[in-house]
Symmetry: C2
Subunit: 210 residues, 2 copies
DNA sequence: CCATGAAATGAGAGTAGCTGTCAAAAACAT
DNA sequence: ATGTTTTTGACAGCTACTCTCATTTCATGG
């Protein structure tokens, strides 16, 4: 297998050879996928081609990613968002905490991205919006992020994480934010995302403590 | 092909033989699918089995329904909701109009359902929540319903249907309502849906006119 | 009633995503 | 170097879905 185009992160240096190889394979598959998609588009790219270019077998591709869509959709941002949310002062209105946490997560996602360039990030967002299968998978993962949000919201408002109100607020917000991204991509990413997010949150109510 | 278990609606009587047959086939496929799912579950039911029981070829199944999920997911309620929304007085706050329109649509969906029993409706909702593929498809159709909502909301608020605020409000609402349904099904449909919907809308902000 | 055109169907081959199995190869431990 | 465990590749198989083409079924005008 050829060396992955994207450099292995420093954090991985101390791992054993086995672990390092796994990271390499993972990245080789992703790089192969992205380059093929750039050349031919998502649908025209088969898993066989991906495996060939990454110089691994099809089995290995599916061992690393449960489905084709997952190759382009790795959510590393759930944990980030949760952390950022916990950093905000406890007394702050929920909606304000959300605003800052989301702003920061978004900024980090779009700028200092360690293993993909910004251009790759934009392609990713575009695929989320344009390819139905990827969008579907994204929506699925939205409900995971939603549950996470529920926990954070419950903590802050003194409600239970399974409260209808908490869950509805969380999923409503996820829907709203996804639509914001779609709006942004439809406008060719020319508008300022942070401003769009502000406008989005202005439409949403605050979730009051109880 | 055997006669469909569900009776052909009266409204179809005046149609030509060809059209009537098409309706019958459609219903035969759906009935076959539902009975098979009740027996074996969704995943264990193959399109081949469905075709066999409906006494139709596989080609025909795919001619009537673009995907397996679509057999259980026929959205007849988008148009209904739109109509109900238009019936509300123009001066009423948007959120109130939504409350009544959604309540009524939900009531109609769950009670006076012409061609499926209530039990079939509940199975359908349960599939939406429990089977990932069906849920995915449902989420896809949510964005269609969302666009429809955008139009209605734009009309009422004097905004443009492509306004970020309108779109965010619509999709936020869709996310919230979907979560409400999931909550309801998770509690085995024992709680009063209409009350849950009221509580959901209480969490949402109103969309102000401009 | 029949002939002609149009629409619906069935049969079959083919594609791609995905799963599972099993033996070979690579990494690790001793 | 030897034995153990993990990772991999090759292969077979399943199913959803597509496409094509010949055949059947309905509609229509003479």
């Amino acid at each position: 297998m050829t060396t992955a185009r994207t450099p292995v992160p420093e954090a991985a240096r101390h791992l054993g050879l086995r672990e390092r190889k796994k990271l390499k394979t993972r990245m080789a598959i992703r790089d192969a996928t992205y380059s093929l998609i750039r050349e031919q588009g998502y649908d025209a790219t088969t898993v066989e081609q991906i495996a060939d270019r990454a110089e691994v077998s099809q089995s290995t591709v599916f061992r690393y990613f449960p489905a084709k869509e997952d190759i382009v959709l790795t959510d590393e941002y759930d944990a980030l968002l949760e952390g950022l949310l916990r950093e905000r002062p406890a007394g702050e209105p929920v909606r304000e905490s959300l605003r800052w946490a989301i702003r920061k997560a978004m900024t980090m996602a779009l700028t200092d991205n360690p293993d993909h360039g910004q251009e790759e990030m934009l392609l990713r967002v575009r695929l989320m919006v344009e390819v139905p299968q990827v969008r579907s998978r994204l929506m699925e993962s939205m409900s995971v992020t939603g549950r996470l949000l529920c926990r954070a919201l419950a903590e802050r408002t003194g409600r239970h994480e399974n409260d209808l109100e908490v869950r509805v607020y969380a999923m409503g917000l996820m829907g709203a934010l996804l639509e914001t991204m779609i709006y942004w991509v439809e406008g060719d990413c020319r508008e300022d995302v942070l401003e769009l997010i502000d406008r989005t949150l202005a439409v949403c109510a605050d979730l009051p403590r109880r």
